[in-house]
């Protein structure tokens, strides 16, 4: 399609203006409001015991979600792209479920299954394992919500790379395991990296599902997003902004890493 010069400019301004109004301005405003009372106040409000605990809980939960979803994601992507089994389409459809279901519903369904009156909840409670209103529940919710990213990034890469290199490795004597480590994994590494970054970003920012299952015990089961919400609800605006800024900073960092990966992927 060819577009005349004035139109090109108009479209560009529209696109940038939209981005500015929708994304950049609010984020910039958060940073502005955060640092309005001075850097000392910000530091104080993100170093309270509750804030530090929330920060580390967020990091811990995200790390677990990333590890679990990367390993399972690669396995599922292999099953989808390389498998020859019937019913693959079922897996294919189920994987997108977390995208389709509202996070709040995910949280509620976890309570139905693992809550003290749920299917496994009672048995787990007898064993002394508490899932709902505890860290395992937060981890489960986050893993569920971020499940599709790695699979959805890696599957098309696997399909595009094809299986000829893997066959060549087999004819050269490599076992399935050797082929995976030496051939398959290196050829999908940028897809995995991109999926990991998306998973991280989503895990750090997850609110809905976590909010339902966490119980929001300050210093124990409160993640950063929950802390922001609590402070906001308690009219501690400065505190909410500071915690938001911390979240936004982590998000920007992941975004930066993602862009770098994307560049390298395109060069590769």
């Amino acid at each position: 399609m060819t577009v005349s010069r004035p139109w090109q400019l108009t479209l560009r301004i529209l696109a940038l203006g939209w981005l500015l109004a929708l994304l950049l301005a609010p984020v910039a405003l958060i940073f502005y409001r955060t640092f309005e009372p001075g850097i000392g106040a910000v530091w104080d409000s993100i170093t309270t015991p509750a804030a530090i605990s929330a920060f580390w809980l967020t990091i811990e939960v995200s790390a677990i979600a990333v590890v679990v979803n990367t390993v399972l994601g690669v396995v599922m992507a292999l099953a989808l792209a390389r498998g020859r089994w019937r019913g693959r389409w079922v897996l294919d459809a189920i994987i997108d479920l977390p995208f389709a279901i509202s996070p709040v519903v995910v949280g509620l369904s976890l309570i139905l299954v693992y809550g003290t009156t749920g299917w496994f909840g009672r048995d787990l409670a007898d064993l002394g394992i508490r899932v709902i209103f505890s860290v395992p529940g937060i981890v489960l919710a986050t893993v569920f919500v971020t499940l599709p990213f790695v699979v959805r990034e890696v599957t098309p890469v696997l399909r595009e790379v094809g299986d000829e290199q893997e066959q060549a490795a087999a004819t050269l004597g490599a076992s399935g395991w050797q082929t995976f480590w030496r051939i398959t994994l290196p050829s999908i590494r940028w897809g995995i990296a991109y999926g990991v970054v998306l998973t991280t970003a989503r895990a750090i920012g997850e609110f809905g599902a976590v909010s339902v299952v966490s119980g929001k015990v300050s210093g124990e089961t409160e993640t950063l997003t929950l802390l922001v919400e609590k402070r906001f609800a308690n009219f501690d605006l400065a505190g909410a902004y500071a915690a938001s800024a911390l979240l936004a900073a982590i998000a920007l960092l992941t975004l930066l890493i993602m862009t770098t990966f994307n560049r390298r992927r395109e060069e590769a």
Partner: protein, 320 residues
Amino acid sequence: MIAARGITKQFGDFVALDDVTIEIPDGSLTALLGPSGSGKSTLLRIIAGLETPDRGVVEIHGRDQTHVPPQRREIGFVFQHYAAFKHMTVRDNVAFGLKIRKQPKARIDARVNELLEIVGLAGHQKRYPNQLSGGQRQRMALARALAVEPRVLLLDEPFGALDAKVRADLREWLRRLHDEVHVTTILVTHDQEEAMSIADRIAVMDHGRIEQVGHPRELYDRPANRFVMGFLGPVSEIGGRLVRPHDIVIELEPSPGAHEAQITRIVHLGFEVRVELALARRDGVFAQLTRDEAQQLEVSEGDIVWLRATNALVEAPDPA
């Protein structure tokens, strides 16, 4: 010897191989020649262990290998699209099989250097596949396959993705390589010229069956049927018989057994002159003459001539 006996393979409703039996003598360079869909690649992949036959047996050096995975068949396989390990240097590509076999590093280095010398890629050790031309990539793939000293070298349309000039060069080069290395080689191709120029045995395949196996010249001179004759070279049909166009003699006077025809077109192709002819009931008939023969004949387009076949190979079936 490599043998495939009674191999049948179906993909859904499509019969890729229909009870195929072939024996490949040690040290030979055998071409599996046929149109696409004839089953030649499937047969090669079954010999390699990359596909499992529905029925039949694969033997390598007298041992049943039908259910042995490709890793343990001691084969070298070269793919049409190279299957280069893109994230590895040329050196690491060639060294791959040796590293898997846990050879000492000094030995690997020596072997890689030797092979890159043979395939003409010495000095390209540290390059990546995307820095090589198609022909270079395929030579790297050959070196990689040869590195593990396979008992059989299997080539699946190895030059199919290359342009004509490079293909001709690599063909020559492969023939010379085979004369030096002497590894039993099976080459899959749909290009009859390629098969004729490098193979010492050709198996012509069509619709999942082997139509004929033999020396290239034997197949050209004594084709078993119409398909083999047509696949190996141009064919003209005169008086119900199939003839090679260079086996047609053009005469200016009628004689017993000669067929009347009109010259529709004379094409000068350098040394060769192609005379296109219209016969009573046949189109697409042409004769190949040398330039000198054509000059002596002194015919022109529109002339009526008489055709005689000096060497009819196959009786044409009655046109129903």
